[in-house]
Symmetry: C2
Subunit: 347 residues, 2 copies
C-alpha cells in the first residue's frame, strides 16, 4: 500500500455507499478512523435528483463539521453498476433506474465544489478490505462480494484494476457450469447462480419442490423474511437439506476461487458480502474443491511451511462487514491526493 | 510498452526456447529483428547436463559472432514448467525430467558470464506476441497457448504478471465443466481437456468409438501421424464429425475467454500454439459463446462503434507462430537492461 508521509493523519475524506436500499455517508480520517457515519434510506422511487440532493446535503453537513480542524481530500462514491471510466457515466445499474448515462460525478463535483471519484461498489469494497480489512498490508488481492448478486474487485499494486473501460472484475459472471441455471447477464451457470443470496433462495425452493426438505418447506411457508440467512441458521442447527444447499455454495466458490488462484497467484482472496456470514457452513466444501481444483493452491496452501515459508495463499472471509465499501470509497480521494502530493514533492 | 531511447538498436540479446522436442536459440536485436536462429533437437534422454551444454555452446557461438559490432544485453530462456520466481528453480516440468529443483539460471549464468532470465514458455510466448505480434502496442493482454497442453501468459503494464511466486497465468486449468474429463492437474473439465491437441485427439477417438465418425476412423487407422492437424484438415474438407470436434474446441474457448474478458477487460486476447492454426474451424463457435457469455464483450465488441469508439475488445489468433516464445525470451533481458539504464539516467 502506498504510504505517504506528506498527508497529515488529521486530513479526512467522505466515503459514500449508494446502495439500492441504504444510502450511507461517512467521514473517515487518513488513518482509517471513522469520524462519523450517516445512514439514510435510499429513496430511489423519489427519483435521482432527490437522492443526489440527500447525498449532497449529508456530505455538506459532515464536511462543515470536520473541515474546521482538518482538510477534506475529496469524496468517493461507491455505486452498484458499471461505471465507464472514460466518460465517468453509469453504464448499467439495475437498482438505480434513471441514473443511466447521467453525469453523476460531474454533477456532484460541481455542486460540492470538491474532487469526486466514482467507483463500482464491489471494487470499493475490495479496496476497503485491502486497506483496513482482511487484505491489510497486501498490495495484490481480490474480493468476491456475495450479496443479492455476486460482485468482484481486483486490487493490484495497491490500486483497483479497472481494465480498458472500467469493466474489469466482473467475477460474479465467471463460469461454473456451462449448462447451469440461466443468468441475468445472458450466460448460464455463472457463480452468481450458486453463491448469491438470490441463488440460495432459488436452490432452496427447488429442493423444497422435490419434497426432500420438509423443515425448509415449513420455514419458507411461515416466514415472510425467508432468505439465505434462515437457510444458514437451519444449516447450523443441523438440518441436512439446508446443509446441502450451503455445500453447493461452497462447491461453486471452490471452483471459482481455484480459477482465480490459477490466474493471479495472489497472496489473498477475500469472500465478503452478506452471504459470507455463512462462512462456516460453506467453507469446508470450498476448501475441499480448492485443494483438488487448483494445483497452484495445493502448492502454496498455508501449513506447507517447507515449500512456502511466509508465502502461502490465503482464502478468507472479509473483516469489515457492510462498511468495506464505505471505507474503500473514502480511501479513493486520499490515494489520489497522496499521489498528487508525491508528484509535487518530487519536482 | 516501455520505450527507451537510451538503448541502441544495434544491441542484441539471446532468446532460448527450450521445448521437449526442439531447442532453439536466437540472436534478436533491440528492434525485434532476428539476426540468426539455431534449431537443435532437445536430446532430453541424454540428460540435463548434455542439454545445458548444447544450449551454452550455441549461445556462445551466436554471442561471439554478434558481439563484435554490438553489445549483448543478456540471455532469456523460455522453459516448459513452473519457475519459482523466489528461488529461480524449476518446480514442475513434465517434459524435462531431472531438471526439478536444479538451479538452471545460476548454472547457465555462471558458465556464460552474463545475465540470464528464466521464464515459463507460455509467458515468454505471450510476451513475444505483446512485443511484436498480435498484441503489438498493447500494454495489457493475455495469450492462451494451445499445444500438447494449454498454457497462458498475462501481460499487464507491459510486464509479465507473475503473481506471488511466479505461478500466475495457469490459464490452461481454468474450469469449463466441473464434471468434465479428468485433468492431469488433479481437477476435471479444465480448458486443457477441450482445446489442447491432446484433447482433440481424445475427443476424436471417443467419437470414433461411437461409430459416428467413419472417415475419422479410417484416417486414424491409416495414419501414423494422426493428430489434431489431420482432424482440422478433415473439418476444412467438410467432414461433419471433424467439424463437430472443432466446434467443441470453439465452445470451450468461448466460455474460457468470456471469463477472461469479464475479469480483465483487456483490449486484446490472443489464441496461439499449434492448435490455433485451426482458427477458422473453431472461431465461429468461439465467438457465438463469447457474445452470449460475456456482457463485457457484448458491450465492447468491435463494430459497436457508437458505444466503444476505438476501445473495443479484440480476440484474435497469434501472429508469430512457433517463434513467439523465442522473441519473448529475447525481449526479457532487453527490458531489464532498459529499466536499469532508465534508473541510472534519472539519478
Amino acid at each position: 500500500m502506498l504510504v505517504c508521509p506528506l498527508m497529515p493523519s488529521s486530513d479526512f475524506s467522505i466515503g459514500v455507499d449508494l446502495g439500492g436500499t441504504n444510502l450511507r455517508i461517512a467521514a473517515v480520517d487518513a488513518t482509517g478512523n471513522l469520524l462519523e457515519k450517516i445512514t439514510l434510506g435510499t429513496q430511489v422511487s423519489k427519483g435521482r435528483d432527490y437522492v443526489v440532493n440527500e447525498m449532497c446535503e449529508a456530505i455538506e453537513s459532515l464536511t462543515s463539521r470536520y473541515q474546521k480542524k482538518s482538510t477534506l481530500c475529496g469524496v468517493g462514491i461507491g455505486i452498484p453498476g458499471i461505471i465507464d471510466k472514460r466518460t465517468d457515466m453509469l453504464r448499467e445499474s439495475p437498482n438505480l433506474p434513471g441514473w443511466h448515462d447521467y453525469p453523476v460525478r460531474e454533477e456532484i463535483s460541481r455542486r460540492l465544489g470538491t474532487e469526486v471519484i466514482l467507483e463500482n461498489d464491489a471494487n470499493a469494497a475490495a479496496f476497503g478490505e485491502a486497506w483496513l480489512g482482511a487484505g491489510k498490508g497486501c498490495d495484490d488481492m481480490c474480493m468476491i462480494t456475495l450479496g443479492t448478486g455476486v460482485g468482484g474487485g481486483i486490487v493490484m499494486g495497491g490500486r483497483i484494476w479497472h481494465g480498458m473501460r472500467g469493466m474489469a472484475g466482473e467475477l460474479g459472471h465467471m463460469n461454473i457450469d456451462p449448462e447451469g441455471h440461466p443468468c441475468g447477464c445472458g450466460s448460464r451457470g455463472c457463480i452468481e447462480q450458486y453463491a448469491s443470496a438470490t441463488a440460495i433462495v432459488r436452490m432452496t425452493r427447488e429442493l423444497i419442490a422435490t419434497g426432500k426438505a420438509p423443515q425448509l418447506a415449513r420455514a419458507a411457508h411461515d416466514n415472510l423474511e425467508f432468505g439465505a440467512k434462515v437457510v444458514y441458521q437451519m444449516a447450523v442447527q443441523g438440518d441436512a437439506p439446508a446443509q446441502e444447499i450451503y455445500r453447493t455454495v461452497g462447491w461453486a466458490l471452490g471452483i471459482h476461487i481455484a480459477d482465480l488462484v490459477n490466474i493471479f497467484n495472489f497472496p489473498i482472496y477475500v469472500v465478503g458480502g452478506g452471504v459470507a456470514s455463512g462462512w462456516d457452513a460453506f467453507a469446508p466444501a470450498l476448501f475441499d474443491e480448492l485443494r483438488v481444483r487448483s494445483f497452484v493452491y495445493a502448492a502454496t496452501a498455508p501449513g506447507d511451511a517447507e515449500r512456502a515459508p511466509g508465502k502461502s495463499t490465503i482464502v478468507t472471509h472479509a473483516l469489515l462487514g457492510g462498511d468495506a465499501g464505505l471505507y474503500g470509497a473514502a480511501r479513493l480521494p486520499m490515494l489520489m491526493s497522496e499521489i498528487e502530493k508525491h508528484v509535487v514533492a518530487r519536482r
